[in-house]
C-alpha cells in the first residue's frame, strides 16, 4: 500500500530535511528507539507507567444518544480524554521521556499549540526528573492560559514565541533552534506525527496503543470491527495512533477530519491535506499550506491543536493511496458538535475531536446502519473560555 522507498519515507513523503548539525542526533535517536522498542525491559516499564500513571487502558464508551442525534446505528468513543492530563498526547510524551532518559539526555524541549502536549511533556518530565522547556506561540499563550499555568505548576519553563504567526508552527521552529543549539544534551520531544524521520514513526509507535486498545474493545463490545473509524487531524498523532490498528482491515473505512476554519474557500483554515500542496516543512516532505513562492501560509482554526500548516507524512501518503479519506469541518460545525456531545452524552470534548464528531452526520448519510468508532482525543476544559466567547452557548 504505502511504499517505503527507503527508511523514513512514506512514498514520496517524509525524509530528513534538517541542518547537518542535527543529522547525528536523529541517527542516534533512531538507533536508541529501535533498541528500546526491542527491549522487553523498556516495554515493561512503558506498560507499567501507562497503566499506573496515565490510567490506561482508557475506556470505550457506547454513545447511543449521540448516535441517535446524528442518525447512526452506533457510535463508540475511544476515551483519550480520560487519560492523565486530559488528552492522548501523554502516550507519546511519557514514551519519549522514557526514551530520552534511556539516552542519557537530562533536558527536554517541546513545542505546544493548544498546550496539551506541553502539559503532557511537563508532567512526564516531572515524573522522570527531567528539565523541561516548552515553546509556545504568543497567540496560543493568550488563548490557552490555563494550560500555561499547568505547565508552570508541573515545573516546566514556558517560553513564549513571538515570531511568524505566533502559533504552533513557530513554536516548532523555536524548539528546533533550541535543539540545534543544545543538541548534545537535549532531547526534542516532538508532539505530533510530523517532523523529520524518525519522529513520525516514533510518535505513531507510542500512539498505536490507542488503536490496539480500541480494536480489542470494539471487538468485545460489538462482536466485530467498526465500519468506520474517525479522528481529527492536525499533525495527526491521535489519528495515526487509532488508524494504525485498522490499516490492514480492508472493510474498515478510515476518515481523518481536518480543521476547515472559516471554510476552505475562505483561505482561513488549517486543512493541509484537503487544501494543501506538496512542500517541505519542519524536516519533512508532506502536504502543506503554502503560497506559489513556497512560503508557508498562516492558518486559522478555532482549535489551537489543529492550527498547523502541515500534516504528518504518513497521512499525506495514506491520502495519496486513498486508504484514508480526509475531509474538513469548519469552526462552526466543530462548535455545534462540541455542544451536541456535551448535551447528548455528558462528555465535554476538546475542540479538536469536536471536528471528528462533526463528521458523523455526513457518515450517517452514507449508511445509517454503520458502527462508527471515534477517537475522542481530549477533553474540553481547556477550551471553555473560547467556547463561551464563540458560542453556541452564548
Amino acid at each position: 500500500m504505502i511504499t517505503k522507498t527507503r527508511p523514513g519515507r512514506y512514498g514520496e513523503f517524509g525524509g530528513q530535511y534538517l541542518p547537518e548539525t542535527l543529522m547525528p542526533a536523529v541517527a542516534e535517536l533512531e538507533a536508541a528507539w529501535l533498541e528500546a522498542r526491542a527491549d522487553a525491559e523498556f516495554q515493561a516499564e512503558l506498560a507499567r507507567v501507562l497503566r499506573d500513571w496515565v490510567g490506561r487502558p482508557t475506556p470505550l464508551t457506547d454513545a447511543p444518544r449521540l448516535a441517535t442525534a446524528v442518525g447512526l446505528a452506533r457510535v463508540l468513543l475511544k476515551r483519550e480524554d480520560l487519560a492523565h492530563t486530559g488528552a492522548h498526547k501523554i502516550n507519546s510524551a511519557v514514551g519519549q521521556a522514557l526514551l530520552a532518559k534511556r539516552m542519557g539526555k537530562r533536558r527536554i524541549v517541546a513545542e505546544t499549540g493548544a498546550g496539551q502536549h506541553g502539559v503532557a511533556s511537563a508532567a512526564a518530565c516531572a515524573l522522570l526528573g527531567l528539565e523541561c522547556v516548552v515553546y509556545m506561540g504568543s497567540v496560543d499563550v493568550r488563548r490557552q492560559q490555563a494550560n500555561v499555568f499547568r505547565m508552570k505548576l508541573l515545573g516546566a519553563e514556558v517560553r513564549e514565541v513571538d515570531a511568524g504567526s505566533r502559533t504552533l508552527k513557530d513554536a516548532v521552529n523555536e524548539a528546533i533552534r533550541d535543539w540545534v543549539t543544545n543538541v548534545r544534551t537535549t532531547y526534542y520531544l516532538l508532539g505530533s506525527a510530523i517532523g523529520p524521520h524518525p519522529y513520525p514513526a516514533i510518535v505513531r509507535d507510542f500512539q498505536a496503543v490507542i488503536g490496539r486498545e480500541a480494536r480489542e474493545q470494539t471487538l468485545a463490545m460489538v462482536d466485530g470491527l467498526p465500519d468506520v473509524v474517525v479522528a481529527c487531524v492536525g499533525g495527526g498523532s491521535n489519528a495515526i495512533g487509532i488508524f494504525s490498528a485498522f490499516l490492514d482491515d480492508e472493510s474498515v473505512k478510515l476518515v481523518g477530519v481536518e480543521a476547515g476554519g472559516e471554510g476552505i474557500a475562505s483561505g482561513k483554515h488549517a486543512a493541509s491535506i484537503v487544501g494543501g500542496t506538496v512542500g517541505i516543512l519542519h524536516g519533512s516532505r508532506t502536504l502543506v499550506l503554502q503560497d506559489d513562492q513556497g512560503q508557508i501560509r498562516e492558518t486559522h482554526s478555532v482549535s489551537a491543536g489543529l492550527d498547523y500548516p502541515g500534516v504528518g507524512p504518513e497521512h499525506a501518503a495514506l491520502a495519496q493511496a486513498g486508504r484514508v479519506r480526509y475531509v474538513a469541518r469548519t469552526d462552526r460545525e466543530a462548535l455545534d458538535a462540541f455542544a451536541l456531545l456535551s448535551r447528548s452524552e455528558g462528555i465535554i470534548p476538546a475542540l479538536e475531536p469536536a471536528h471528528a464528531i462533526a463528521e458523523l452526520p455526513a457518515i450517517a448519510r452514507e449508511g445509517a446502519e454503520q458502527t462508527v468508532l471515534v477517537c475522542l482525543s481530549g477533553r474540553g476544559d481547556k477550551d471553555l473560555e473560547i467556547v463561551m466567547r464563540e458560542g453556541p452557548f452564548r
Binding site: 525524509g15 530528513q16 530535511y17 534538517l18 541542518p19 547537518e20 548539525t21 542535527l22 543529522m23 547525528p24 542526533a25 515570531a163 511568524g164 508552527k169 513557530d170 521552529n173 528546533i176 533552534r177 540545534v180 543549539t181 543544545n182 543538541v183 548534545r184 512542500g279 517541505i280 516543512l281 519542519h282 524536516g283 502543506v288 503554502q290 506559489d292 513562492q293 513556497g294 512560503q295 508557508i296
Partner: protein, 275 residues
Amino acid sequence: MTISTALTGSARIARAFARARDANRLAIAVYLTVGYPDRAATAGLLRAALDGGADVLELGVPFSDPLADGATVQRASETALRQGVGLADCLAEASTIVRERDATVLLMGYANPFFRHRGGLAGFATDAAQAGVAGIIVPDLPSEESAEFDSALDPEVVTRIDLYAPTTPDARLARLVPRARGFIYCVSLTGVTGARRGLGADVAEFVARVRRHTSLPIAVGFGISAPEHVASLRGVADAVIVGSAALDAVSAAPADGRPDALRGFVAALAAAGRA
C-alpha cells in the same frame, strides 16, 4: 572590463578563492537577505559589500520558517516577505550584480522555495544558470536529501555547497566530504546563525578534521561578527562567511548611510583577513 557571464559557477567560485589565496589572505563572503531593509536597497548593499572587499556574495532567499537562523536573519526575512520578495527577486538581483561587477554570487535559502520555483528544480537550474548564479547553499538539505537537487543542477554550472557541523562525526566526513564541490562550508558552532562575542573554542580542530578529507577551500560561517574573529581564522580556514553581523551593521546605520556602513564593516573584516 569584460564581463564573463559565460564563466561557469564552479570556475567563478574557484577564481574567487584563488584570488584570495594568491594574495595570501582570507576570502570574505558576505550574506545579505534580499529585500532587507527594503527591496530597493539590495542592489546598493551588494555593491557596497563588493567595494568593501567581499570576494563572494551570498544572497539570502527569504523564507517563512528559517529554522537554522537566529533573530537577525529571521527579522530580515520577515521584513523581506512583507514586501513580497521571493526567489524570483533573488535571481534578478543576482543577475544584475553578476553582469555589473562580474561577481561570484551564491543563493542561500531553505529547500522549499527552490522546489516550488516555476518549473520545479529543473526550472530553477535553468533560471539560476541564466542569472549567472555560481552556487547554492541549502541549510536544510543534508546529503540524505540532496539527490533531487544534485540531479537537477549541473555542479559545473551551479554548484551546490555542502555544510558540515562540529557534530558531524569523522566517519560521516570521510564518506561525504570527498564528494563535495566548490568549497566546504564549515558551521563554526552547534546552533543557529547570529553574531556571537567569541568563536567556538574547537573551530580549528573541526576545520582540521574536515581538511583531512579534501583539497577544496574551507569557509567558516555562523557567529562571525568582528575583525578579531576573522584574524583568529587566518591559517585555519580559507574564507569566512559573515551574515547576521553584516545585517546588523546595515540596520544600525541611518537609512542614507547603510551602504557606507556596510562597506566600512566589510573592509574592516577584509583587513583582518590579510597578513
